[in-house]
C-alpha cells in the first residue's frame, strides 16, 4: 500500500517536471509576454527594463534553470500580471472553484444515480423513456448555452435567483466560502446546476447501463431466490456492483470540473480558477500557467489515488499494485 502511494507521488513529480518543460517551451513559442503586459504608452527604455526585470533576456534554458531552482525551494515565481506569488493567486481562487465543483458533483450523484437506477429497473416504462430522452439533451447541449438559458429563465424572466456573481461569503478555516450564507447559496444554485447537468446525465446513463447488465446475472437471481427483500437486492447487490464505473467517472469528472470549469465560471461570473487560467494563457503569464498546471497534475494524481482506494473498498477482488504481495 505505502509502496503504491510512494510510486504515485514519484510519478506525479515526473509528470510535473515534464509539464514545466512543455509550458516553458510552449509559452516561448507562442509569443513574448512583454509585448502584451507592457502599457501601450511605454517606450523602448521601459520595455528593456521590464524584459530584464523578468529575466526574459536570458536564454530559455537559463530561465528554466532559474525557475527550477526557485521551485525546489517552494517558490513558483511571481505572476507577471498580479505581481504576487503565482501559487498564492491560484489558491486565492481555489475555494470558489472547489465549492462549485463539489456542489455540482453532489447534484450529479443525487440526481443521476437514483434516476439511473429507476430507468434501469423499468427499462420499458414511459417515465424511464422520458428520463433517457432528457438525459440525451443534458449532455449534448453546450454548457454555456444552457447557462445563459438558465440565467434568462430564472434570473431575468422569473427573477427567482441571482443571475451571476458569488454573492456574500463567510469565513471558515480562514477561507471565504459562499455556501455558508443564504445569499451565497442562492448564487451557487444556478452555476452548480449548470455544471452538474452534463455529469448527472453521464452518471444516469452509466447507472442504467450497469443495472441492465447486472440484473439478469445469476447472483441477483440467487439473492432473490434466497428470499431477500427487493430493497436489499437493489440497495446492496445491484448498487455495489454497478458503482465501479460510476466512481471512476465521478473521480475523473471532479478533476475536470475543477480544472476546466471555465465556461460555467465565465457565464456566471464566478470568480474561480478556470477563468484565471484562460486569462493567464491569453496574456502569457507563464508563472501562473506553470503553477496552475502543476497544481492540477497534483490534484488529478490525488483523485486517481482516491478512486483506486474506493475500488478496493467496493470490490474485494481489486488490489492496488504493491499491496499485499
Amino acid at each position: 500500500m505505502t509502496a503504491a502511494i510512494v510510486r504515485r507521488l514519484f510519478q506525479a513529480a515526473m509528470v510535473m517536471f515534464a509539464m514545466t518543460v512543455i509550458v516553458f517551451i510552449a509559452v516561448n513559442v507562442i509569443g513574448d509576454p512583454v509585448d502584451i503586459l507592457i502599457s501601450p504608452d511605454a517606450d523602448q527604455i521601459e520595455r528593456a527594463r521590464v524584459v530584464q526585470a523578468l529575466g526574459l533576456d536570458l536564454p530559455l534554458w537559463q530561465q528554466y534553470l532559474r525557475f527550477l531552482q526557485a521551485a525546489l525551494h517552494g517558490d513558483l515565481g511571481q505572476s507577471y500580471v498580479y505581481n504576487e506569488p503565482a501559487l498564492g493567486v491560484i489558491l486565492q481562487r481555489l475555494p470558489a472553484t472547489l465549492e462549485l465543483a463539489v456542489s455540482a458533483i453532489l447534484i450529479a450523484i443525487v440526481v443521476g444515480v437514483p434516476l439511473g437506477l429507476y430507468a434501469g429497473l423499468r427499462p420499458d416504462g414511459i417515465v424511464s423513456r422520458i428520463i433517457m430522452t432528457v438525459s440525451i439533451l443534458g449532455f449534448s447541449l453546450p454548457t454555456f448555452w444552457v447557462g445563459l438559458v438558465l440565467i434568462m429563465l430564472f434570473g431575468v424572466q422569473l427573477g427567482w435567483l441571482p443571475s451571476g456573481g458569488r454573492g456574500q461569503t463567510a469565513e471558515l478555516f480562514g477561507v471565504q466560502w459562499a455556501f455558508l450564507t443564504k445569499d451565497g447559496l442562492a448564487h451557487l444554485i444556478l452555476p452548480s446546476f449548470n455544471l452538474a447537468l452534463f455529469d448527472a446525465c453521464l452518471i444516469l446513463r452509466l447507472t442504467r447501463a450497469g443495472v441492465a447488465e447486472v440484473l439478469p446475472l445469476d447472483y441477483i437471481k440467487f439473492a432473490r431466490a434466497k428470499g431477500l427483500k427487493e430493497t436489499r437486492v437493489i440497495g446492496i447487490h445491484v448498487s455495489k456492483n454497478i458503482m465501479i464505473p460510476v466512481v471512476t467517472i465521478v473521480g475523473l469528472e471532479f478533476g475536470s470540473i475543477v480544472a476546466f470549469s471555465v465556461v460555467t465560471e465565465s457565464v456566471f461570473s464566478w470568480p474561480g480558477m478556470g477563468k484565471l487560467i484562460i486569462d493567464s494563457i491569453n496574456v502569457l503569464d507563464r508563472p501562473i500557467i506553470t503553477a496552475y498546471l502543476m497544481a492540477i497534475v497534483a490534484f488529478f494524481v490525488i483523485i486517481n489515488l482516491v478512486v483506486d482506494l474506493t475500488y478496493t473498498a467496493l470490490d474485494p477482488r481489486v488490489r492496488l499494485q504493491g499491496e499485499g504481495s
Partner: protein, 556 residues
C-alpha cells in the same frame, strides 16, 4: 492524468470511455450564434419580476458590470485601463483628464509654465484623505517617487522619468522641474495617483486589502475581492462635488452575454461593452437605454513601407516580388481608396464606430481640417494601381488579431474582399493577440490591423509611437509596426515636442498630420464607439479613454 492513454499507474485498466473529453465539444459551436438564440428566446417571453431594480435605486446604489478585471488596487503597480479606471475612484491626481482627455484641475487648481523646464502648480487648499489627514507636499513627492521606482511589468515610469524634481518653494505652491521640455506634463501628471506618504513602502498586498488604499478621491474602498467585485462608498471628506450615487459596486462580468443578462435581470444597473447582438434587445426594453460615445481608439492598418521586398507580398502566382509595391505612394493611396469605410461602419460595426481619416476626429488638438475623408473609389484605385505598374494587382496576405479589437477578424476579411475587387489576390491570417503582439512589433507582417488608444487626446502621442522612425534610445516609434520612416516628419515632430506653447505646438502637429496622412503612412479605418447600457433613470457620460467611472453616473 485524465488524458493518459496508456496503462494507468495503478495497474488497473480503465475502460476506454473514461478517457474521452466530451466537455470540449461544446466549444466548437459558435458562441455568438447561440447567444443570439438565447437572447432571442428571452425576448419572446415577457418579463415580469423586477423587485431588484426598485430596491437598488431607492438605496442610491449603483452596480456596474465591468468587462475586464482590475489586477490590483495599488495605483502605481500596473498601468492598464481597468486598474487606472478603478484607481480614479479612490485616488486623485494633480491634474485630471476630463471626458475628452483635456487637462482639468485636480489637486492642483491652476498651473503655469515658468520656463522650458519649470512648471508651477497651485495646490488645492484643505484637501483631506479619507482617513481625515490633510494632504501634504510630502504625499505628492512620495507618490511620484514610488511610481518611478516600483518593480512592475507595466509601470508609470514613462510619465515620471522626465521629472527631475518636485519642490515646494512656499506653502500651497509646487514647482516641478523636468529634464527636457515636456509640453504634455499636465497629461503625465494625470497618470500619477497620490497616496499617503506613510504608505511609501507599503506592499501591493496592503493596497489590495485596504490598509494602504487611502486616497483623496470621491470614493473610498469598502471591499475588494479579486476577480469578483469591488465595493466603494462615497468619501465623506471629498473636496469636490459628492457623487450622485454614494454606494457603488463594480462587479466583474467578463462574459458579454452574461453581462447583458445581469442587466436585464436587474442585478446590475449599468454595463459597459454591450455586445452588438444585444443592443437592439436593450433599446426595445423600456426600462433601459443605451449610451454611446466616441472613444479615442483609432483602428487602422499598418503598411510595410520600409523593406524593399516584403514577406507577404507576392505576384499573383504566389512568387515573391522583387520590389515592395507599398513603397509606392500611388499603391498605398489605391489600397486606402478601395476600402468602403462607410459600409464597414454601418454594417459590420452596426453604426457603433465613426469613419476615421486621421488619428482623432477633426477638431481635436493636433488634427488637421485639411485632411478630407478618404473617398471610396474602386475605379480610381484600379487606375492608380495601373499607373504604379500593377494593372493586374498583386498577391497580399493581411494579418490581424482575432480577440483584441471589436470585430477584428471580420474587418480583416471584409477589407480583403474589398481589395480583391480592385484586382489584388488577398489572403487573410488572423491569430490570438498573445501570438500576434510580438510578431507585429517585430515587423513580421506586410499589411496588418492594429489599434491605438490616443489617451493624451492630442496627436503627438500617436505620431511618436506609430509614425516616428523607430529609435530605441529616444523612445520613438515603439508601435511603428510598418517601420514607416520620414526624416521630415521626425524633424518636425522633435521640434513640436519641445514647444510648450499649446497653440504653436498644435499647429505644428496639425501640419505633421497633413504630411502623414497625405503620404498614407498608415490606413485609418474608424474610431471605436463605446456602448454602455443602463437603467433609464441613470444618466451616464462616456469617456474618450474608455474608463467606466461611477462619478459619471447621475440619477435623472
Amino acid at each position: 492524468m485524465a488524458s493518459g492513454g496508456k496503462k494507468n499507474s495503478s495497474g488497473l485498466n480503465y475502460p476506454e470511455w473514461t478517457r474521452r473529453k466530451t466537455r470540449m465539444i461544446s466549444r466548437t459551436i459558435s458562441r455568438r450564434a447561440l447567444m443570439r438564440w438565447a437572447l432571442g428566446s428571452a425576448a419572446i417571453l415577457q418579463s415580469t419580476s423586477w423587485t431588484g431594480l426598485a430596491q437598488a435605486a431607492a438605496r442610491g446604489q449603483l452596480r456596474i458590470g465591468m468587462a475586464a478585471p482590475p489586477t490590483t488596487l495599488d495605483p502605481h503597480l500596473k498601468s492598464n485601463a481597468p486598474n487606472n479606471a478603478l484607481a480614479t475612484h479612490i485616488y486623485d491626481t494633480l491634474v485630471t483628464n476630463d471626458e475628452k482627455s483635456v487637462s482639468r484641475p485636480g489637486l492642483a487648481t491652476a498651473w503655469r509654465v515658468i520656463d522650458d523646464t519649470h512648471w508651477e502648480f497651485e495646490l488645492r487648499p484643505d484637501v483631506r484623505f479619507s482617513d481625515g489627514e490633510p494632504l501634504t507636499v510630502d504625499d505628492i513627492t512620495v507618490s511620484f517617487d514610488r511610481a518611478n521606482t516600483i518593480e512592475s511589468t507595466a509601470s508609470f515610469r514613462t510619465y515620471t522619468r522626465n521629472i527631475k524634481s518636485i519642490t515646494s518653494p512656499q506653502a500651497g505652491k509646487l514647482v516641478i522641474e523636468t529634464k527636457q521640455p515636456e509640453p504634455l506634463l499636465s497629461n503625465s501628471l494625470s497618470r500619477i495617483r497620490i497616496i499617503r506618504a506613510k504608505f511609501k513602502d507599503a506592499t501591493s498586498d496592503q493596497f489590495n486589502n485596504g490598509t494602504a488604499s487611502i486616497g483623496t478621491g470621491p470614493y473610498v474602498l469598502k471591499e475588494y475581492v479579486p476577480g469578483n467585485r469591488v465595493a466603494l462608498s462615497a468619501n465623506p471628506n471629498y473636496w469636490g462635488a459628492k457623487p450622485a450615487l454614494p454606494e457603488v459596486e463594480l462587479r466583474i462580468v467578463t462574459d458579454a452575454g452574461a453581462r447583458l443578462a445581469n442587466l436585464l435581470a436587474g442585478d446590475l444597473d449599468l454595463v459597459e461593452q454591450v455586445p452588438y447582438e444585444g443592443i437592439a434587445r436593450v433599446e426595445k426594453d423600456e426600462r433601459f437605454h443605451v449610451v454611446r460615445g466616441v472613444s479615442s481608439r483609432v483602428v487602422f492598418f499598418s503598411l510595410d513601407t520600409f523593406r524593399d521586398v516584403s514577406p507577404f507580398i507576392t505576384d499573383k502566382d504566389g512568387k515573391p516580388l522583387d520590389r515592395n509595391p507599398l513603397k509606392d505612394l500611388r499603391v498605398r493611396r489605391a489600397l486606402s481608396m478601395a476600402i468602403d469605410r462607410k459600409a464597414i461602419v454601418e454594417r459590420l460595426m452596426q453604426g457603433n464606430a465613426v469613419v476615421a481619416s486621421q488619428f482623432l476626429p477633426v477638431g481635436a488638438p493636433g488634427t488637421s481640417a485639411a485632411i478630407k475623408p478618404i473617398p471610396f473609389d474602386a475605379q480610381n484605385a484600379k487606375a492608380l494601381l495601373a499607373e504604379a505598374g500593377y494593372p493586374d494587382g498583386f498577391g497580399l496576405t493581411i494579418h490581424g488579431p482575432n480577440d483584441r479589437i471589436v470585430n477584428d477578424s471580420k474587418i480583416v476579411q471584409v477589407v480583403a474582399q474589398m481589395l480583391t475587387r480592385i484586382g489584388l489576390k488577398v489572403s487573410v491570417d488572423v491569430m490570438p493577440w498573445s501570438v500576434y503582439a510580438d510578431k507585429a512589433d517585430a515587423h513580421t507582417f506586410s499589411f496588418n490591423l492594429d489599434s491605438w488608444g490616443v489617451n493624451t487626446g492630442e496627436t503627438s502621442n500617436p505620431l511618436t509611437a506609430l509614425i516616428a522612425t523607430q529609435n530605441s534610445d529616444a523612445g520613438l516609434g515603439i508601435a511603428n509596426s510598418g517601420r514607416y520612416s520620414n526624416p521630415d516628419v521626425d524633424a518636425k515632430l522633435a521640434v513640436a515636442k519641445r514647444t510648450l506653447d499649446d497653440a504653436k505646438r498644435e499647429k505644428m502637429l496639425s501640419e505633421i498630420s497633413d504630411i502623414v496622412f497625405n503620404d498614407v503612412a498608415l490606413i485609418p479605418m474608424h474610431h471605436e464607439v463605446l456602448v454602455v447600457a443602463a437603467r433609464k433613470d441613470i444618466q451616464f457620460t462616456t469617456r474618450a479613454d474608455q474608463y467606466t467611472l461611477a462619478m459619471n453616473a447621475e440619477i435623472a
